[in-house]
């Protein structure tokens, strides 16, 4: 089965992520709120509320860590916290996360694999593994954080601890998950056929 006929749209979509990310990072501050809002709305419309909520939850955790450490650093170095700066960075991070999730959602790993395996089979497998992990993370995060929230109890401090422990567990399981994906992909009949080795 040829995914979507030609492999080129998928490759173009993947490559477009690089200039799009750069453009989003360079968006003027006054334009950051409407861009973030537009991309979130587009995500909601195209990928649905569940997927949007997954990205939002995933993002919220890491933004919280960023805002906390950034505030601490600003306080230590400048004696004040620039809330406007943090607000702008958070909006740009939201835009980047939404656009990445949108693109990843529409990428066809198989088409990408075919297109890139002509150049380098190793690179193609690495890219597909990364793509698979990118798709897995929000779901894995939801699972891990819900388990820690239940297992540590529902009190406020416990919820905070659950977030910290979940983030650590996600980071640790990334290595394990990558190895698992690489292991099964090395012997996967699907991949063997696609790469024709």
């Amino acid at each position: 089965m040829r995914a979507g006929g030609s492999d080129l749209p998928s490759l173009a979509l993947a490559l477009s992520l690089v200039p799009t990310s750069v453009a989003l990072a360079l968006v003027p501050d006054w334009l950051a709120p409407p861009v973030a809002l537009a991309l979130t709305t587009a995500h909601l419309a195209l990928r649905g509320p569940r997927a949007t909520l997954d990205v939002a939850r995933f993002l919220a955790t890491f933004l919280a860590v960023f805002v906390a450490t950034s505030s601490a650093a600003q306080l230590a170095l400048a004696g004040v916290v620039d809330l406007v700066l943090q607000y702008e960075y958070s909006l740009k991070a939201t835009s980047l996360a939404m656009v990445s999730s949108l693109v990843v959602g529409y990428l066809r790993p198989v088409a990408l694999l075919r297109a890139l395996s002509r150049v380098s089979p190793g690179l193609a497998v690495a890219l597909v593994v990364s793509l698979k992990l990118l798709r897995e993370y929000p779901r894995l995060w939801r699972n891990i954080s819900s388990i820690y929230t239940v297992n540590l109890g529902g009190r406020r401090w416990a919820r905070l601890r659950a977030v910290v422990l979940s983030a650590r567990a996600l980071a640790s399981s990334s290595v394990y998950l990558s190895l698992q994906v690489a292991e099964v992909m090395t012997s996967s009949p699907t991949l063997r056929r696609l790469l024709r080795y």
């Binding site: 699972n143 891990i144 567990a169 640790s172 099964v184 992909m185 080795y197």
Partner: protein
């Protein structure tokens, strides 16, 4: 083209993992068309053997020393892997698929969708995310069978596939090996299931007698600590469980027994509060619930077992460690544990946390008879001390540990 040699030749195979001997001096010689049962207790090196003969250990892992002579159809394992004549079916089936449904995966792999459906018995249009662990394993196994591999390595099929489905799986494997002159290695710790379909048995540890467990966990006669009343859960338009009513009482426990995909995990997750239910869910005020999911490795912190225990308990965990016999694992990294060992550690975390209600999904995954006994003993202790235990399992032998057992069929519950 390669020259066809003997099916599989293994001479004096040894594997060291970070200075620890995982496998020592294994010999095996089998012709084409053979099924070999690889047996041994939890942590005896069954998975390591499979990964070494399929070339995965040499290709993907660092810090592993593999010594000895291994030939697959006359080829070195890594060559056999690269030529595509090897299929490995792992213990962890979550990461395997490239596509989103079995039908799409079959198309991508050039396998007839109808054949995959007949082989696996799984609805080929259903998303992989919605399939149970056992169903994923069956799809995975069928993809391997239908891929034309000459060496099939199956890791712990009894941990994932229910006993009813396992007979079909083993008989398909037997037929496949004979018809296509393939060699199948089936690593499992339940000889009574695998041996009848095997030509040879390779033992990597002491031989086990068929496992018998005694009923040790009562229904509980205290107050109700958790319950579901007329609860239903759906995934999109599909109803996974419907009209489930269940009560968990203090000082006892219950088991949910059923085939793969029957809805056991969904009931368990609904009871623990991990899923939203329509109907009523109740957990008594002040009661703490601890969930051990089916795949425990994904939520470990990545340190040693001892550090992991300290995450949930500030006091000494010596009692728990002794009860479960995991003293030898304390200094090991959680990600270096076998699936069975990680099950014991997960249960230890639940016990160390002092939770009132312990909820376990497939508690005997990857465990031998001794391991299952240890789990039963530990759960009995929870009940004796006034706690409550709920498990979901496809293992009828382990379900016998509970006085109260419910059969889950098509998302509905009925007492046995």
């Amino acid at each position: 083209m390669w020259t066809l040699g003997r099916g599989l030749e293994v001479r004096n195979l040894s594997v060291e993992v970070g200075g620890r001997v995982a496998l020592r001096g294994v010999d095996l010689e089998v012709g084409e068309g053979s099924v070999v049962a690889v047996e041994g207790p939890t942590g005896s090196g069954k998975t390591t053997l499979l990964k070494a003969v399929t070339g995965l250990l040499q290709t993907l892992y660092r810090g592993r020393r593999v010594e000895g002579y291994v030939r697959v159809l006359g080829l070195e394992p890594v060559d056999a892997l690269h030529r595509g004549i090897v299929a490995y079916v792992p213990q962890d089936p979550y990461s395997f698929f490239l596509a989103t449904t079995p039908a799409e995966e079959a198309s991508l792999a050039g396998i007839d969708v109808g054949e995959l459906r007949r082989c696996s018995g799984v609805d080929h249009r259903q998303s992989f995310v919605e399939l149970s662990d056992g169903q994923l394993y069956r799809v995975l196994l069928c993809l391997a069978l239908l891929s034309g591999a000459k060496l099939l390595a199956l890791d712990e099929p009894t941990s994932h596939v229910d006993p009813w489905g396992l007979r079909e799986v083993m008989s398909s494997l037997r037929e496949y090996a004979e018809e296509f002159g393939a060699v199948a290695l089936v690593a499992d710790h339940r000889p009574e299931v695998v041996e009848p379909y095997s030509d040879r048995v390779l033992r990597l540890g002491p031989v086990e007698a068929p496992c018998r467990l005694q009923e040790v966990i009562p229904s509980g006669d205290g107050e109700v600590v958790a319950s579901l009343r007329e609860a239903s859960v759906g995934y999109g338009s599909r109803v996974a469980v419907e009209g489930v009513t269940l009560e968990v009482r203090r000082g006892g426990g219950l088991a949910l027994l059923g085939r793969n995909g029957a809805g056991k995990t969904t009931v368990l997750r609904a009871l623990a509060g991990l899923l939203k239910v329509s109907g009523a869910r109740y957990v008594s005020r002040g009661s703490r619930v601890f969930v051990v999911p089916q795949s425990p490795l994904y939520w470990f912190q990545g340190g040693t077992v001892e550090e992991e225990l300290k995450t949930f308990s500030r006091g000494s965990c010596r009692d728990v460690v002794e009860l479960l016999g995991i003293g030898g694992l304390l200094s090991r990294s959680t990600y270096s544990l076998s699936v069975g060992e990680s099950r014991l550690v997960s249960l230890a975390l639940a016990l160390a946390s002092g939770a009132d209600v312990v909820v376990l999904d497939e508690p005997t995954l990857g465990l031998d008879c001794d391991g299952r006994r240890r789990v039963a003993r530990a759960l009995a202790r929870v009940a004796e001390e006034g706690g409550s235990v709920v498990v979901a399992t496809h293992d009828p032998v382990f379900a016998e540990v509970f006085k109260e057992v419910y059969l889950v069929e098509g998302g509905r519950l009925r007492p046995t």
